[in-house]
């Protein structure tokens, strides 16, 4: 079954220079292992392909049921140099929440995941 990340997580993003950070937090603690497994560095880099010019770094915060991603070269130079509407990366979080996860039916039922993707 396909699950929209928006339905299982919430997120916050911001900037450090030309790097956007996206912190993504499981809506329920029991969903964190699924996020940690599916949201690999490579997967997130593929999701943002064409939108960022640099690497992706990934950090785990199991104590907060959260992952933190650094998207380098995401903000068109960042800060005052950037010409982008979202020069501070405030809504990059919502772009990540568009991701769809493929989860086996049995696991989705066991974890009580909400419906299939919209």
């Amino acid at each position: 079954v396909r699950i929209l990340l928006l339905d299982v997580a919430h997120a916050r993003s911001g900037d450090k220079g030309d790097t956007a950070n996206v912190g993504i937090i499981a809506l329920r603690p029991e969903w964190y292992p699924l996020l940690a497994r599916e949201l690999t560095r490579e997967r997130v880099a593929r999701h943002f392909a064409g939108l960022i010019t640099g690497d992706v770094e990934r950090f785990e915060l199991p104590n907060l049921n959260a992952l933190n991603f650094l998207l380098h070269g995401a903000l068109g130079g960042g800060g005052t140099l950037s010409l982008k509407t979202d020069a501070q990366g405030k809504v990059v979080s919502t772009a990540l929440l568009r991701m769809e996860l493929e989860v086996p039916n049995a696991e989705a039922r066991r974890l009580g995941l909400p419906g299939s993707a919209r």
Binding site: H10, A11, R12, S13, G14, D15, K16, G17, N21, G23, I24, I25, L27, H47, G50, L51, E57, F59, E60, L61, P62, N63, L64, N65, A66, N68, L70, G76, G77, G78, G79, T80, L81, L83, K84, T85, D86, V91, T94, A95, R98
Partner: protein, 206 residues
Amino acid sequence: VYKHPGTGGRIDVHSVSEQLVYEMGDPHAYLTPDVIADFTTIRLEGAGPDRVRVHGIHGRPPTDKLKVSIAYRSGFKALGTLVYAWPDALAKAQLADRVLRERLDGLGLKFDTILTEFLGVSATHGPLAGPPEHDVPEVQLRIGVRGPDRAPVERFTREIAPLVLNGPPSVTGFAGGRPKVEAVVAYWPALVDKRVVTPTVSMEES
């Protein structure tokens, strides 16, 4: 973390977690002048309505560096916007963008960056948003340029108004007049040795 009752908003483990991951780099080593905080050790627990208990965080001694935020002049920029209305708002905005870029090319203007965004369609999510599901009511075309010299940026600002008369129809949103040229003050975060900085406090009385 808590707040006064009846003041709106919400404090819970989720909202405090969002605040913790906001503008975070490496959570194992969040550098401050006083301590290197390890945010992978912090514990949050709900402790009643609009109240979260925060405990358990560990840290290490700080580095021998301080962060300096340096500002410097870095050329000029300008942003122009126009709004195109239904029908075919996106196609009109895209055509206007092509016309404008050809004009800039023809004038021989050189910039470090030219950025076009279509607000209402793809400005914040880019290709992840996919094509619009219907013929949207309006699209804002937003074009920005940045370069080392003022003159080409100034020239760019004179090229927006002609699009209104000579470009795709059903266009509005230009009452603000010609875009303003802005000097760019860029940001350079750097580290300096703590030994070269002597903090002093001066009290002023009036």
